[in-house]
Symmetry: C2
Subunit: 149 residues, 2 copies
DNA sequence: TTGGAAATATAGCATTGGCTACATTTCTGT
DNA sequence: ACAGAAATGTAGCCAATGCTATATTTCCAA
């Protein structure tokens, strides 16, 4: 009945526990929002020369106070800058995050389509999946896609 | 400069907007926790005959008050039942969710491994990815895996 | 059987991320 | 040039999800 020493599996080597996986997933969840915002701000800046709160809010499907509050957090984290009543711009750190996220997004969509997921569903699901794809998995996706087209 | 009618793409048909995708991802994020808990409670119940708060907390890597509070939400949503100072059990609805989540989890891991992701990374990433895989994508994964082994 | 250890419950705090309502500033058309 | 429209900012509310600290209950072993 004692569940105390049941955890250690066969090998006593460095092992990834359930808790590790869940903790990892929680950590990712807390950065996912930043990734969405930086990517979107990069898109809007490219399209319009600046990213305005109203446009950010509309694209994300949230109200503008919500977008505004998120931008405050982005600024606090050094990912964006803005002046009152003006557009939002990414810092170098924010732009780097946006580039990285965009590359990951594209790769995830390409992989989903490659294994037979309809493009529409691939785009939809990638929006959530992309945040959880590790560097290792990304490399595997690249190898898989590279080796077949 | 007017960004108002830039949104409508080429076809005026039913179109999935960015906002739709983000709204979908947010909705999923809010059910992900329930999915993790029901799956875990099912596992523990199978292993030990009941799911205890302490075990739930340890496996998820959170403190027990956190697990307790989450279980209160599960009960409120009709996914679990429990009596004070006793183990937690799934309702039929909770058990159904657990079964569905577990099947999805296994399929995601299998697919990741099939495209070349190392098993350890596949397990890690699946913990987050699984929540975002739609029915359509799941079907595609099944077809892909079925057609190659 | 009873006292200490373990498990569970609860109170209270912080942050995130959503909202509505309202204030302020900027833009724009006449 | 200015009035109304649009955009932005801010205040305040709520629920979720984490935490620590402190009860309370149950379990187990001497």
């Amino acid at each position: 009945m004692s569940r105390d020493e049941l955890a250690p599996g066969p090998e006593t080597t460095t092992e990834t526990t359930d808790a590790d996986r869940f903790t990892n997933a929680r950590a990712i969840r807390s950065t996912a929002l930043f990734e969405d915002y930086t990517e979107l701000i990069a898109d809007l800046t490219e399209e319009f020369g600046e990213a305005r709160i109203t446009d950010i809010a509309r694209r994300l499907g949230v109200t503008h106070p919500t977008a505004n509050k998120a931008v405050l957090r982005l600024k606090r984290e050094g990912l964006a800058i803005s002046r009152p009543y003006r557009g939002v711009f990414l810092t170098e750190a924010g732009a780097a995050m946006a580039r990285e996220v965009k590359a990951r997004h594209r790769l995830v969509v390409r992989l989903l389509i490659a294994v037979g997921v309809p493009p529409e569903a691939a785009e939809m699901d990638a929006e959530g999946i992309e945040h959880y794809v590790s560097e290792t998995t990304l490399k595997a996706f690249e190898a898989y896609l590279g080796g077949r087209d």
